[in-house]
Symmetry: C2
Subunit: 336 residues, 2 copies
DNA sequence: CTGAAAGCGCTAACAA
DNA sequence: TTGTTAGCGCTTTCAG
């Protein structure tokens, strides 16, 4: 059982050296003989001493802690990133503090106060299109995951990592076309925005054009893709109104399940009659039978980049670049 | 943009009072006139001052922070609890630090060091049958979620909240029986343990006995229920060997999907021929069509209890009880 | 009602 | 190579 009361002074006394020396030993700062080192280390072990990080933080004006701001941990993709971040940070001796914004910028603003008060060393923000990162303390390094590369950011100490969605979408569309699809249903919950800026639609458009295929406006569906029901209804409507399609590119696996159920309900076979691809390669895509084709966005790689460049900024290293893009991979399974 | 440099001394100077008074005002400690209060508050706002929590933590020997130890945030149920905990703690002015054990007690032990070093005010441990809570600093209040009530714990400052799984299982079994099931398949990934201690099997057994039904040993299935495939294979084997059953009680929704797919593959209709109930009421149960009947274990209520009694312990209040049990609710949907 | 001052545990500049 | 000491920003006792 860990005790909570022995301080650096106790260790200094017990090992017959000064606190400065103990501090040096603890932090591997050199300037001590091997003998002192061993003696101090022995006493530390003996008394089961753990340096008080609060005191250290106060002194060096930095907590060995990182704030992770994300919409909701309950989102599988965000959770996967958060898990990996925490693991990596732990190995580096950092604590992970989490803050769920629930897609509400008000929250994010209040969090930023707390984060400042905590003297965290850095922030990782999993972007939700709502959080205004300009509200965060300017001297704290911050990296955004999923932050739209087109958004201009003025602050120093900033980097972003994001998925090359345009390319992923291009690959998805090409995969569908290669499987014989000609009339592809494009489903998104951000269609209006995407048509303007987002890469996902651009990749789709490019692939269609390159293959000499027309985009049927009626097959551009803008629904809530965080669940299955809206997708189910949308597809049902389409079927009933006799609009034909032979491939579906969804921006979530949940939507893909809705699409598949709707097709099945009308005796349209997947993948024979219609091929379907989801997004994020979540658990449900593997749970399904046939397993749903999807897009792997490599949360562990995103976390890796994020932590690496955050640490670089914290350690005052010059970043060779401020944008890390991870390319997604299309996983073809039973629904194509 | 939040600045990071103004201290309590600055506020004291600017408002012409001592730091002691500023401190009193900040913490609503009384002993100041309304005028001083207003003046101080005005200056605080003006300078956008946020008290340095690290300094405070050092002084009062407690961080306004709670450590949440859990197997993995990627588990939907754990994530739901974590999300709610973080929200509540934030409202109470506490930071949430997370630690994923990955079901590995080694990790948990190393976390306990870090937690001690951080002077957290309390710990919430979402139990995974692996973590040894005796390894945690003895003076820090701790509440375990899901901790088996039969496990003896000696430490002070300890409370647990758990689901009455026995009752939930009893209700599930009764629901299946009420729907006409007689040969019920009981699926678990902890069968051996359950037959000994766990309440889940007890509830099943009780309901069967009360209804004069025999438990068919061949219908007690012990497989990995964290995914769908093991359940799929187990059910397929059962069908092939001609062992009949008309109801399935799973301990996860993932397993339930595997069961349903296996049945469908053999043209066995759900719910007509076989009724299926999952567990945890996760997203996939609602995604499915027909939606999968499941058991709602109220993560938000579990979080609420956990945070409440943790706060009580932190504030030195005497707990009226050390066990909080939340009763689960069976949600009947399309598969029954 | 208000202020002076000690000190939480640590780091780092400076002295030896 | 080692020690002394100031001070990080805050709370709290004690004196007024």
């Amino acid at each position: 059982m860990v005790k909570n009361n022995v301080s650096i002074r106790d260790i200094a006394e017990k090992s017959g050296v000064s606190v400065a020396t103990v501090s040096r030993v603890i932090n591997n700062r050199g300037k001590y003989s091997k003998e002192t080192r061993d003696r101090v280390l022995k006493v530390i072990r003996e008394f089961d001493y753990t340096p008080n990080m609060t005191a250290k933080a106060l002194r060096i004006r930095r907590q060995q802690a990182i704030g992770v701001i994300l919409p909701e941990v309950t989102n599988e993709y965000f959770a996967a990133i958060t898990l990996k971040i925490q693991e990596q940070l732990f190995d580096l001796g950092y604590i992970t503090m989490i803050f769920n914004t629930s897609y509400n910028n008000e929250y994010a603003v209040r969090y930023s106060e707390m984060i400042k008060a905590q003297n965290v060393s850095g922030i990782i923000c999993i972007y939700d299109r709502q959080t205004d990162i300009n509200k965060f303390p300017e001297d704290i390094p911050i990296v955004c995951i999923g932050y739209d590369p087109k958004t201009k950011v003025k602050r120093k100490n900033f980097a972003r990592v994001y998925v090359d969605v345009a390319h992923a979408s291009w690959v998805v569309t090409n995969a569908l076309i290669a499987k014989g699809c000609r009339k592809i249903l494009y489903m998104s919950n951000w269609l209006k925005k995407e048509e303007g800026v987002s890469g996902r639609f651009l990749g789709f458009k490019k692939a269609m054009e390159e293959n000499g295929l027309e985009i049927d406006k009626r097959l551009l569906i803008d629904v809530d893709t965080t669940g299955a029901s809206s997708a189910y209804e949308a597809v049902t409507r389409l079927i009933k109104s006799g609009i034909e399609f032979d491939g579906v590119a969804c921006n979530s696996d949940q939507a893909a399940t809705g699409v598949i159920f709707a097709l099945n309900a009308h005796n349209i076979n997947v993948p024979r009659d219609v091929k379907v691809i989801g997004f994020d390669n979540t658990a449900v895509s593997k749970l399904f039978m046939p397993a749903i084709s999807s897009v792997e966005v490599r949360p562990e790689l995103q976390s890796k980049y994020a932590v690496e460049c955050l640490m670089a900024m914290i350690n005052g290293e010059k970043l060779d670049r401020h944008e890390y893009v991870v390319s997604a991979e299309v996983i073809l399974r039973g629904t194509t």
